[in-house]
Symmetry: C2
Subunit: 306 residues, 2 copies
């Protein structure tokens, strides 16, 4: 099973990357004076990320649709999530935020294209998902109702009360490095900053499969647990990994006085908590026939080393 699981995740990640650059919205017109912004967006999107979010959407779709064959519109919708995620990374790396010159071993978008273009490329990718998701309905590939539900799911989880709220809390920590951060604050911040987009991904898969509200709720519970586990493991790796393994500098959170789960719970405590959360996700998804792959994915997330 383990090998099959790894092969599936890798192949779905690769399919997402392929779909991303085939989208008509990302087609770069040869003679357009403004094409540089699309080039910057494609640069950011093709950074070789793990595409965790799309893989989750696709696998939840498979689970609840019962279909092994995944229609193109599922990948296209999953690409909308990758765009939102990538827009947040571009803006996060900018000087006013984390000021990171490196992302996945390559110059950050604002380093490669300049800060003004970084700002605009992030803006472009923040809006683009809504072009894609509305187009899918206007082309008759999904219903108008499903399109609206996907758009509500993505905008709510990415917006002021979701991912952006998490970024604001993160910023607050950076601006007040001497304030003690409670475990509660850190959990809330992580659930917003990374967790909400993981939830959006899993709900996308369920909505695209036309799943019942009970199944949508299961997708949310699974996502909440792996989302927090994911962040905790990120914090652990920021201490224990090497720059080569991670593709970015090590210890950067500590340099910036950002609180981490490793600080508050200790390395062992943090790993135990990640394992506990992964197990909860595992149990939730194993309620369903065919949930083995997602269950194993939950366990693997808490044991990853990059």
């Amino acid at each position: 099973m383990r090998d099959e699981f790894k092969r599936t995740v890798a192949s779905e990640a690769a399919r997402t990357a392929e779909f991303l650059l085939k989208l008509p919205e990302l087609d770069i017109p040869e003679n357009a004076e403004w094409k540089r912004v699309l080039e910057a967006e494609c640069y950011a999107l093709s950074g070789g990320g793990k595409h965790t979010r799309s893989v989750l959407a696709v696998e939840i779709y498979k689970l609840f649709s019962g279909l092994g064959e995944v229609p193109d519109f599922v990948y296209e919708a999953a690409c909308a999530i990758e765009m939102t995620h990538t827009f947040s990374l571009i803006h996060d790396d900018m000087p006013e935020m984390d000021d990171d010159d490196l992302r996945r071993g390559r110059p950050s978008t604002h380093i490669a294209y300049g800060t003004a273009m970084g700002l605009l490329a992030g803006d472009g990718l923040a809006i683009l998902p809504y072009e894609v998701l509305s187009r899918l309905a206007l082309e008759g590939k999904i219903s108008f109702e499903t399109s609206v539900k996907l758009i509500k799911t993505l905008s709510e989880n990415a917006g002021n009360r979701g991912m952006i709220a998490g970024q604001v809390m993160d910023l607050w920590c950076e601006e007040k490095p001497n304030e003690a951060i409670s475990e509660d604050f850190l959990r809330k911040m992580s659930k917003l900053k990374t967790g909400r987009m993981i939830i959006a991904s899993c709900v996308f898969g369920a909505l695209l499969a036309g799943a019942s509200s009970e199944k949508i709720r299961s997708a949310e519970i699974y996502a909440e647990n792996i989302g927090l586990a994911f962040q905790i493991v990120d914090d652990i790796l920021d201490v224990t990994s090497t720059p080569e393994e991670l593709g970015k500098p090590i210890g950067s959170d500590n340099e910036r006085h950002k609180p981490t789960f490793a600080d508050i719970l200790g390395l062992d405590g943090a790993q135990n908590e990640a394992d506990r959360l992964s197990k909860a996700a595992y149990d939730e998804i194993m309620k369903y026939h065919g949930g083995e792959l997602l269950a194993e994915y939950a366990i693997a997330l808490s044991q990853r080393n990059k």
Copy 2:
């Protein structure tokens, strides 16, 4: 007629401002650690702009619905356009773009709240319209189909091939101050940067009224013409107005070596072109019974002094 027209425009602008701050999406939770980003967004939204875009959406709605009474959902949808417009202003004012400390006589959002919060507030307002427009359908106030069409209209006109493309062209001018800019380039840039959001506004009104595709096309033609007239008059005012009248520094385009219609066509030539465009918009909308107000609005836009 002239007084009635001015009263209507002022009262619709005021109603938009009222609706904006009553939207559930902009309700600020007392104890949320992240509420500062919503405060920054409300600050930017309540800057006392002319709300030209919402007024256009509302008036086109009245024209094509034949109704004098405008339902709340029309104002709520128009607010989505104001949000997109405001997000672009927040990011435009930032140091990597125009670096403007002042907007409508008040400190720009990134000056009042810091650059990181300016970045996030812009991001929040870039996403928020899609929460609002999808909510309206999920609440049954508009159909799923109309919601999807509004979302496609807004995202396309604001995105990479619309407003953002115009910003990229604007940036190109700033980075190459010694390149000669052609009238053609300047027209294309203006049609994208300001024109596309004016088009979105008028199409919003038509879609919300359930107008025929012929009427939607008329709304676009009207919008294209007043959109370009609007930008040309902006360029004229940047030379001829006073900081008090305009609420921002005068001559700022020239200081930044930005090409303007006043440079390329001369002040008189620019005014003639604005008048010609306004007249084309006037003629298009006067095809319809009840078009007098919008027709007069077109003429007034080219003759405004602030």
